[in-house]
Point group: D2
Chain length 336, copies 4
Amino acid sequence: MLVVMEKGIPEKTIQACINAIEKRGYTARPIPGGDRVSIGILHNTGSVDAAHFLGLDGVKEVIPVTKPYKLVSREFKQENTRIKVGDAVFGDGSLPVIAGPCAVESLEQVLSIAGSVKKAGALLFRGGAFKPRTSPYSFQGLEKKGLEFLAAVREETGLPVVTEVMDVENFDIVEQYADVVQIGTRNMQNFSLLKRAGKSDKPVILKRGMSATLQEWLMAAEYIMAEGNNDVILCERGVRTFVRHSRNTLDLSVVPAAKKESHLPIIVDPSHAAGVRDQVISLALASAALGADGVMIEVHNKPEEAMSDGAQSLYPDQFISVMDKMNAIHQIVEQK
Amino acid sequence: MLVVMEKGIPEKTIQACINAIEKRGYTARPIPGGDRVSIGILHNTGSVDAAHFLGLDGVKEVIPVTKPYKLVSREFKQENTRIKVGDAVFGDGSLPVIAGPCAVESLEQVLSIAGSVKKAGALLFRGGAFKPRTSPYSFQGLEKKGLEFLAAVREETGLPVVTEVMDVENFDIVEQYADVVQIGTRNMQNFSLLKRAGKSDKPVILKRGMSATLQEWLMAAEYIMAEGNNDVILCERGVRTFVRHSRNTLDLSVVPAAKKESHLPIIVDPSHAAGVRDQVISLALASAALGADGVMIEVHNKPEEAMSDGAQSLYPDQFISVMDKMNAIHQIVEQK
Amino acid sequence: MLVVMEKGIPEKTIQACINAIEKRGYTARPIPGGDRVSIGILHNTGSVDAAHFLGLDGVKEVIPVTKPYKLVSREFKQENTRIKVGDAVFGDGSLPVIAGPCAVESLEQVLSIAGSVKKAGALLFRGGAFKPRTSPYSFQGLEKKGLEFLAAVREETGLPVVTEVMDVENFDIVEQYADVVQIGTRNMQNFSLLKRAGKSDKPVILKRGMSATLQEWLMAAEYIMAEGNNDVILCERGVRTFVRHSRNTLDLSVVPAAKKESHLPIIVDPSHAAGVRDQVISLALASAALGADGVMIEVHNKPEEAMSDGAQSLYPDQFISVMDKMNAIHQIVEQK
Amino acid sequence: MLVVMEKGIPEKTIQACINAIEKRGYTARPIPGGDRVSIGILHNTGSVDAAHFLGLDGVKEVIPVTKPYKLVSREFKQENTRIKVGDAVFGDGSLPVIAGPCAVESLEQVLSIAGSVKKAGALLFRGGAFKPRTSPYSFQGLEKKGLEFLAAVREETGLPVVTEVMDVENFDIVEQYADVVQIGTRNMQNFSLLKRAGKSDKPVILKRGMSATLQEWLMAAEYIMAEGNNDVILCERGVRTFVRHSRNTLDLSVVPAAKKESHLPIIVDPSHAAGVRDQVISLALASAALGADGVMIEVHNKPEEAMSDGAQSLYPDQFISVMDKMNAIHQIVEQK
């Protein structure tokens, strides 16, 4: 943390600021500059709250220097975290693909889709049993029934299943059925849910909040790791911007940026970002080229009859073609 | 909902789209235009999901026409909802002020601040007992102890108390102590929490999500009302933008916009939006001029020692001056 | 500028970075921290380009500490700049109001509106002769004829006139007719135009770019001042965000923030931000409460027939009422 | 254009609105809905300004249905526009690459870089002679001298050259030296410059404005085409968002979206979006996978000594590797 003082303030104002820093248990080191003094806050373990010093007399600005995260950081742990689920490994340089419908609608539907995506090479199956919906009047998911259908998919196809958990109340039951538990974008800073996920022994896919900075996202992952669960997979799914030609703006630069800051694997969900099928295909290929640790794609056997998000779901045929291209691209990118 | 078709597509593609609409139970009305056909979807009750039709053959765009909310809408209920808490009424044209520290830190602290803000004219006291913090290593609030201190404030000063609830687990206890329950910005789309709040008999302050559109915010309020609780107070607290000179960007235009769409009262929290004291003062006055139904301001007796958000907390003296000016401004604005 | 190095890098990498800094003519001062070294760049005059050092070996981050602007900064010149135009002074604590239609449409139109707004207390008249329009097929303004009509307004009413200049080619003629030259939001970083404005002896209203940070905006003003023109009036007019209930999001917090950083006066244009009449009224009152150095409002005698931006133009009667309230609010705010 | 009326308004208010529409020369067609009337505006040629109707009595909302652009639209011209420059064709399904330094610094510098990038397969050379800089005190380019050095590059290597024009004043000279004229992000809505570019016989690269919607961007291209120049190449270079880990957010979804709306070729500039080298590499590969019509990349022989944007410039060796991978990826993507 660097506390930048205003120009030409008296020595005693600077001293008062130093005292305020030390009163909170930190080491203050004044750094005389060209025309103003800055004060470094040293040896702090963990994050220092800028707000503590921002309002003090003579303080112009407070600039964080070190990052507040620890367990998630690449500086804490150099080598990539690898998370094995079924035949997939996230974080080892491969490109595992998770596919399936937005929502579990019926046993027939999930079995049909699961068969298709497995044949095309998907290594995990996804489907929502508890659905976060903007409107209280929209279809909210099949809930427990949906979880049972997912279990049937696993039994039938051998594919591990990924599904979203929306609250602490249903965590136990979701955890019991799912191989990977997903925390959705709207819950990225639902800290109670993060703490519960930290006590789970299932890997967690943590979607990025709609307007979360990389730092806030990693701090959300830190909440999970701080409780003891190291198996966190980050998932970029688009952020909210002024843009109107896609539902959200897929921020692909966050993939290399996250890999630099953190050892956690990061995958991309182009389906929710785009919201329309043709963009999904393009962005899926881009994600493979980017070096993501996996891709999650919505596939539906009858998108035009889907109960939610039909417009962004690929047809099984499209998915086969995307898979082939993604795999070929991945081979090129991985070559040294 | 208006489904806009591509130019020059064959009649049978249009018919297929009409069939798809009617298959979902809606009435389709084709509207021939200058050089393309659009299809209106009529008589739908509640929201129609654009995604259902976006991916169909020949569809260029799907444009929502009616809004998806019902209970919260001004069209559903013309007159303003008025919510009475202690001596305050939200929604009757008055300007009740809620004041207090970011976090409850000690009994002495809250009693001291409560005394000050009551004398200055605040009608409700606020203070966080459960604190949503970006970092798991930051102070997370005094929890139950904090609620007890708030109860002591109420007993001592007669001021009703407002405090945040972060999860369903602690809803019962927060509800038991609080006069008004607050749902924070990070939980605006925590649908499980919204449903629980809908079953409460306490008024709810629903803060706007960091990047929520007005429509999403009203739909979150709809979740609460749909469960039976009509006493929802909207609270604008700044949204996330590219701007860096303030913590968030206070979107004051949402106040007249929300009042046009909804009968619910809407208040403004300039403290969290600004993040620094001098901006808070300016924005509080602006909020009074704007016709908001109330203002929520952070006040601390010793901001430089606050455990969180000290930089944005007003000194008691500043609060007195702001109160005087806000009240004078409010009188001017209310004159016809 | 603070160059933050990665953890645990060898001494010689740090030395190489120091050499690179000094090779560019700056003074490097290493600051050993708890677990990493940072290097301060001192005694630099003017801005240092972070990009110079960001890609060097071992560099984790480059953090600007001092601001790049000089002439515009409050540290350079403590007292407020006051700009006198006719009976108005921008920057002396008063609240001069600029009013008029979006576009000059006819002599009759501007004379009628100017008469109304003068009677209501406006001190300057605005109207566009050269109109920046998103579509090449939209009305582009009356050009020279429009300037002549503005001159007629000045002659008839004594009000100084404000009008926009869109390019260097037409600067001479606009400058000849206008009392204040306006640079629009789309031209805020048209550096050639800024330089030309810097050579003018007319005051310049510099509108904030649609997505400009405060720093970029002040640097645009610096371009004008660096050429010798000190009479720059900043004008906030809303920024682009994800928000859809208003055309742009009026960022009122930029007013206190700009006043802290700079001695230049700053006014607010609520009309372009809002885009709809009822929001304009609310935001105009908020701007007065905020301590802005002036307000610019669109008024039209027949908004429903306006050639552009009719929906955001106030009726003359509404303007009278807004003026009365703004003045009353301003008196309250100015009281110490 | 669809004018949505409020619920339950009297017939004569609806009629007044119809009259207002027809007074402006449009055809109004009322569309009775379930609980409100909407009025379609038909047979309009070109764009209708929503603002004309937004403020009328009884009008709840005005929703544009048709897009305002004509010449640029895919509906106007089905087949892709192909623009041939030297050995490159933009828009024919190939992936031409433009490479070179941010700024022309010396003859030796550009010759050295041009030699490298040509060998690696770049088909055009880029370099700035007139530099738009945020600060008036930053290096502003070598201007005419820079253009001469670019001409020398062309002579020596045979590569056509791309360079930016910042204003109408220098358009003649830039046009004389350049093979392709670039209009930068800050000038995307400098309408005078767009009109001048429309009169040029050189192809124009039109960079997307920092916060431009796809529609605004296409309208800017429409300005150029409306003056007679059909050779417009769109260039995505990142937009401004809340994100802080990259300089701008590269919006790759705009590539498929623009191709759907328009017949113009669209290329991607990952360098300016990212601002740091390692992100540039990842995003360049993603752009190739996405189906872009070209990529523009900054390459410098000595990035650490570059006069601008060194941190985002690739080393020649990195560029060779990126080229190889981009070409391999492009082959995969193009396969049917």
